[in-house]
């Protein structure tokens, strides 16, 4: 048995709650989790003990309001170990699309009384604001990875969270590659492993739910898909979804535009 039950807190910022629900979805394991860790603060499930320190804070969601930006500082000070869970917390989430648009304008369209909305111009990952100890990627996080993380924290070891490509697991499962065999633009080669290769297993491309892998070579993969006739705007949208604002994916528009430019200069258009 571990010497002392770790005290765990689960905090929410701008997000859909899906990652917290993944924790609740560990139905069978949850009783064991509850025996092994003291869940001190978890609004989604009940407990809200705000006193003292937490050994581990799991943070879901991105920083999108001035209040969030202050609250995360206080939470960091309360937690020995801070773990971000999900694409919102690790990359800013789908709501980071505003980072390339005008947040005020969006608010005008969405809310009946936009004057009541206090929001930041950007949605940013937690790590842009405070030090993060571990990242659990995914939209939503993977249950097995979540249990691996909790188990590692309980037993005082480093969690095993590989940074290799989705392709590795795709090939381990002997899935036929949709990019090579069907010409589909798949993000697997630039996306971090984490899911059970759900999309290629169902004949679909990887949508990048787990964010950029260790070296996401968007230039080379983008060039291949562009050369095969995939539309640059489509490719940009594909990369710019749940994890679009992750550092490895953020500049996809510039990368693809530069690739396009390289082709244009190689193949000048015929004189008018």
């Amino acid at each position: 048995m571990p010497a002392k039950k770790p005290r765990l807190a689960v905090f929410k910022f701008a997000s859909c709650d899906g990652c917290q629900l993944s924790l609740l979805d560990c139905e069978e394991e949850l009783l064991t989790v509850a025996e092994q860790v003291e869940i001190a603060y978890f609004l989604e499930a009940g407990p809200a003990d705000t006193r003292g320190r937490y050994d581990v804070g799991l943070v879901e969601g991105s920083i999108s309001t001035p209040h969030d930006a202050e609250r995360i500082q206080a939470i960091r000070a309360q937690c020995d170990s801070l773990v971000t869970i999900g694409a919102c917390a690790t990359a800013g989430g789908i709501q980071a699309l505003r980072n390339w648009g005008d947040a005020d304008e969006f608010a005008q369209h969405v809310y009946a009384r936009p004057e009541y909305i206090r929001t930041l111009a950007t949605s940013t990952p937690i790590a842009d604001h405070v030090k993060v100890d571990f990242e659990l990627r995914g939209c939503p996080v993977n249950k097995q990875q979540l249990l691996e993380l909790i188990s590692a924290l309980v037993w005082g070891r480093t969690p095993r969270l590989p940074r290799q490509s989705v392709c590795v697991e795709c090939k381990r499962r002997q899935v036929v590659c949709v990019a090579v065999a069907r010409g589909v633009a798949c993000l697997g080669p630039v996306t971090q492993i984490g899911c059970e290769v759900i999309c290629p297993s169902y004949d679909r491309e990887c949508f990048g739910c787990f964010g950029p892998k260790e070296y996401p070579n968007l230039i080379s993969l983008g060039r291949r898909y562009q050369r095969d006739g995939h539309d640059t705007a489509h490719l940009t949208r594909l990369v710019r979804s749940f994890n679009g604002y992750a550092p490895g994916f953020r500049t996809v528009d510039k990368v693809l535009a530069k690739n396009n430019h390289a082709y244009d200069s190689q193949n000048p258009s015929p004189p008018a």
Partner: protein
């Protein structure tokens, strides 16, 4: 490294006799696997009927591209190797090598009994037989034998087929590993226009050949059969010179081509995963939350992953450039120093299944000019 020439005289059989072969093998407890069309590719999958074979289907293979084309007529084996090799059958992508249980006064260690499936594989190509021989050396040669590999390997009954065509990605002829099957299989078939020519490659094949063989093959049929893999060899355009490649690579470890290929390479590991000889794995201990049960899992790993060379001081291969160099030099050069054979059999899978179509024969050729 060339396996012994096959024993036994060639027999002629009708094409439907293949069904008898499948039925006999199944009656003897074998699960029969062979080429089957699925998900836009010719995969290696269980089959029970001749109709499951991809008759008349051809695979167009190019760097980073694979497409099937269909004809109404044509043979059962007009395709070449698909994405799947024999590797996962003998070296599974994920397996439990040890279980540790907490008991009252300590720990109990259990080594799982390796499974011993009896499997007959129909349609194995020369390159893949050579790859299996290379893996035999890796997993069974030397002091440490892999028990799971040994058990799975012993259960294989291999029915080889001589290739009647090559894909543009095939380069076995230059590597001396094909297209003609020269042994290493239990039964060797060549598909003729209206029948098969069959040769027993092992003693245990004799009863099967006796059951399906109609009569000894005529000299004309033997000549027709011999010409078939020759025709496939003549189609090959890619090549690597196995006598010089070791030094070409090892004398050019700082060639600027490594940096050039690193710009194109995604470090995605697809090449190592599809390669029929790559044998790397990692070991993960997966413990339950209460700490009473831990499984030690062995999973496929690749030198394109940071974890592959991770040490206390960081990864030995931190960049795509050094990882690509590790892959290519291991396959084609240091494998020879390590095992006495090349680690490449020229099957071309790494070329076809690389998402950006990086071609190892082209990378080697770029370095053949010497130091740049």
């Amino acid at each position: 490294m060339t396996p012994a020439p096959p024993p036994g005289p060639p027999w002629w059989m009708k094409k439907p006799a293949l069904q008898t072969l499948i039925d006999r093998l199944r009656a003897d407890g074998y699960e029969v696997l062979g080429p089957r069309m699925a998900d836009g590719a010719i995969t290696l999958a269980p089959l029970t009927n001749l109709a499951h074979l991809p008759r008349g289907v051809r695979d167009d293979q190019q760097p980073g591209r694979y497409r099937l084309t269909m004809a109404d007529d044509g043979g059962y084996f007009d395709h070449v190797v698909g994405p799947h090799s024999l590797k996962p059958l003998v070296f599974p992508p994920r397996t439990t090598v040890l279980e540790v249980l907490r008991v009252r006064d300590g720990w109990e260690y259990r080594t799982p009994e390796p499974p011993q499936p009896k499997r007959a594989i129909l349609g194995v190509r020369a390159c893949d037989l050579h790859a299996l021989a290379i893996q035999d050396r890796v997993f069974l040669g030397g002091a440490y034998r892999d028990p799971e590999y040994a058990a799975r390997r012993a259960g294989l009954f291999l029915i080889a087929v001589n290739c009647s065509r090559s894909a543009p990605t095939c380069f076995c002829a230059s590597m001396n590993t094909g297209p003609a099957v020269r042994g290493g299989a239990d039964l060797i078939l060549t598909e003729l226009t209206d029948g098969f020519l069959g040769v027993a490659g092992s003693d245990r094949a004799a009863p099967y050949l006796a059951a399906v063989g109609e009569r000894p093959a005529s000299p004309e049929e033997q000549a027709e059969a011999a010409a078939i893999p020759q025709r496939a060899a003549a189609q090959q355009t890619r090549r690597i010179d196995p006598t010089t490649v070791h030094d070409t690579l090892m004398n050019n470890l700082e060639h600027r081509r490594w940096a050039d290929v690193a710009k194109r390479c995604l470090s995605c590991a697809n090449c190592t995963m599809v390669c029929p000889t790559c044998f790397c794995s990692t070991v993960n201990d997966v413990s339950d939350l209460v700490g009473t049960h831990t499984r030690r899992q062995r999973v496929w790993e690749s030198c394109f992953n940071e974890e592959h060379s991770h040490t206390a001081g960081g990864p030995v291969h931190p960049t795509t450039k050094s990882r690509y160099r590790q892959w290519l030099t291991h396959k084609l050069a240091t494998w020879i120093d390590q095992f006495g054979t090349s680690g490449c059999v020229g099957c071309g899978r790494c070329i076809t299944w690389c998402p950006v179509g990086i071609d190892i024969t082209e990378e080697v050729a770029a370095m053949e000019g010497g130091r740049v």
